[in-house]
């Protein structure tokens, strides 16, 4: 074993914290854990000590956690309180731009497309066809069927179409049925969104007022 120690033990009020390195091999950790326990046999006997194990960024399966537990269990007085990893760090780029799926073709009657993220459809949605998306839906064509945007409850999702003549639109859990609730099919591109819990339709050019972040970079 080299000089570098992969396990740091800290004492806190409640007991002991084992900080496990998250870059090295898992086997190395187990070896060192064994070694540490053997070395400090005296310290680890006596009254019950609560152990908190911190894995850092390392994510472990239940069976690997069990291997750690079984090593520590050799010392009768060590009581494992928790084995924790840091919450997985969210990739910041993902947050800004959820995946945009691009699809070409016509969604015909009886066909259903489901996507996680936004969808850009180059084609039409015919009556009887359905799109379900967790994000926005942009239809570069005629929207004559049904679209459900923000299926997982995203009330900020929008549905945009070159020709807006849907049979039904849904955003999050709001269902809207044109033309009873609104009429449209103007010659310009439109989008549907939720305004205070009800479906509304507006020209595409109004979108940047609603979503300022979309148009941050306008060149020089």
């Amino acid at each position: 074993m080299t000089g570098k120690s992969y396990i740091t033990i800290k004492g806190i009020k409640e007991g002991l914290v084992f900080l496990l390195d998250d870059q090295c091999e898992f086997v190395t950790l187990l070896d060192e854990l064994n070694a540490k326990l053997d070395k400090h046999v005296q310290q680890f006997t006596g009254p019950i000590v609560h152990i908190f194990i911190k894995l850092g960024a390392r994510q472990l399966e239940e069976e690997d956690k069990e291997r750690i537990r079984s090593i520590l269990r050799r010392q009768g007085n060590l009581l494992i309180q928790s084995i924790e990893s840091d919450p997985p760090t969210v990739d910041p780029t993902l947050k800004i731009a959820p995946t945009l799926h691009t699809m070409t073709g016509i969604i015909r009657s009886g066909q259903t497309m489901e996507f996680d993220g936004h969808l850009l459809l180059l084609g039409d949605v015919n009556p009887g066809g359905t799109i379900k998306c967790s994000g926005d839906v942009y239809v570069l064509g005629a929207l004559r069927g049904s679209v459900h945007a923000g299926v997982e409850g995203d009330v900020n999702a929008i549905i945009a179409a070159s020709l807006m003549k849907p049979t039904q639109l849904r955003i999050a859990d709001i269902i809207s049925r044109p033309p009873d609730e609104w009429t449209s099919a103007e010659p310009w591109m439109e989008y549907a969104f939720l305004r205070e819990g009800t479906m509304a339709i507006d020209k595409m050019t109004s979108l940047n007022r609603q979503r300022k972040e979309v148009m941050q970079f306008k060149g020089v």
């Binding site: 015909r108 009657s109 009886g110 066909q111 039409d124 015919n126 009556p127």
Partner: protein, 264 residues
């Protein structure tokens, strides 16, 4: 090697059998060797429309189950030497034959014919799957009604999924004056929604009903506007470029005659 074309629609009563019978006959008129196959098992009609019902000895199921050879089941048309039909069984149902069996029968017909026209039953279930199994090209028949267009759209979706890259569209039973007044779906609107190639438009013609009842295909009567339209579709299948007939042509002719007689 022949080309197998399935005539389908999804919705019933839009004119699949009439279209099959007339296209088959029209192709025979143009000198092609044609076999029409009725896959509407249990509700066979093509033989009735063709006036060949009383000549049936064996049917599609008999061929599939090996009770006879394909050639024994083929019925020769009474008008053309090169026109044959393979009738459906009337007493069985769609589940008594598999798509694979139909495919094999169609394959066995291909070497002997230029065109094989397959008449598909209504619906999208087993009967539909049987009918499209052997075909390499599809003609979708619709009428200018929302329900028929919706079903045609569904069928086109299923055809595209089953590797029919470009089905062709026939719009049947057009009433030019209703279309003009906006009471009927426009041809352009239908084509825009369905987004496939239009291969023909057939005007609503009372003669079609009369012809079907007398077992004489409409295309035999050159005075019928529907007959001309069906012949035009056949010519387009043969690769000719034929412009779509103007739907109000005849009323124009009428007006001319009326004017000539001093009635206009």
């Amino acid at each position: 090697m022949g080309e197998a074309i399935v005539v389908t629609s999804g919705k019933g009563g839009v004119g699949k059998t009439t279209t099959s019978a007339n296209l088959g006959t029209a192709l025979a008129i143009f000198g092609k060797k044609v076999c029409m196959v009725d896959t509407d098992i249990g509700l066979r009609n093509l033989d009735v429309v063709m006036g060949l019902e009383n000549r049936i000895i064996y049917d599609l199921i008999d061929v599939a189950e090996g009770r006879c050879r394909v050639n024994q089941a083929l019925i020769k048309d009474k008008r053309f030497d090169e026109l044959y039909m393979l009738p459906a069984a009337q007493t069985k149902d769609k589940n008594d034959i598999s798509p694979e069996q139909v495919r094999q029968i169609i394959e066995s017909l291909k070497p002997d014919f230029d065109y094989i026209i397959i008449d598909c039953p209504a619906g999208i279930e087993q009967g539909f799957r049987n009918a499209i199994a052997g075909a390499s090209q599809a003609i979708v028949v619709t009428t200018p009604e929302n329900a028929a267009v919706r079903d045609a759209d569904r069928v086109i979706g299923l055809l595209e999924k089953s590797n029919f890259p470009s089905p062709k569209l026939v719009i049947n039973r057009i009433r030019p004056n209703m279309m003009k007044s906006g009471d009927m779906l426009e041809i352009d609107d239908i084509c825009q929604v369905l987004a496939i190639d239009l291969i023909g438009i057939i005007p609503d013609d009372e003669y079609v009903i009369k012809a079907a009842n007398s077992g004489e295909p409409t295309v035999m009567n050159v005075d019928s506007r529907a007959a001309i339209a069906y012949r035009n579709i056949a010519r387009r299948i043969l690769g000719e470029t034929v412009p779509l007939s103007q739907m109000d042509e005849k009323s124009g002719m009428f007006r001319k005659v009326k004017k000539f007689l001093g009635m206009g």
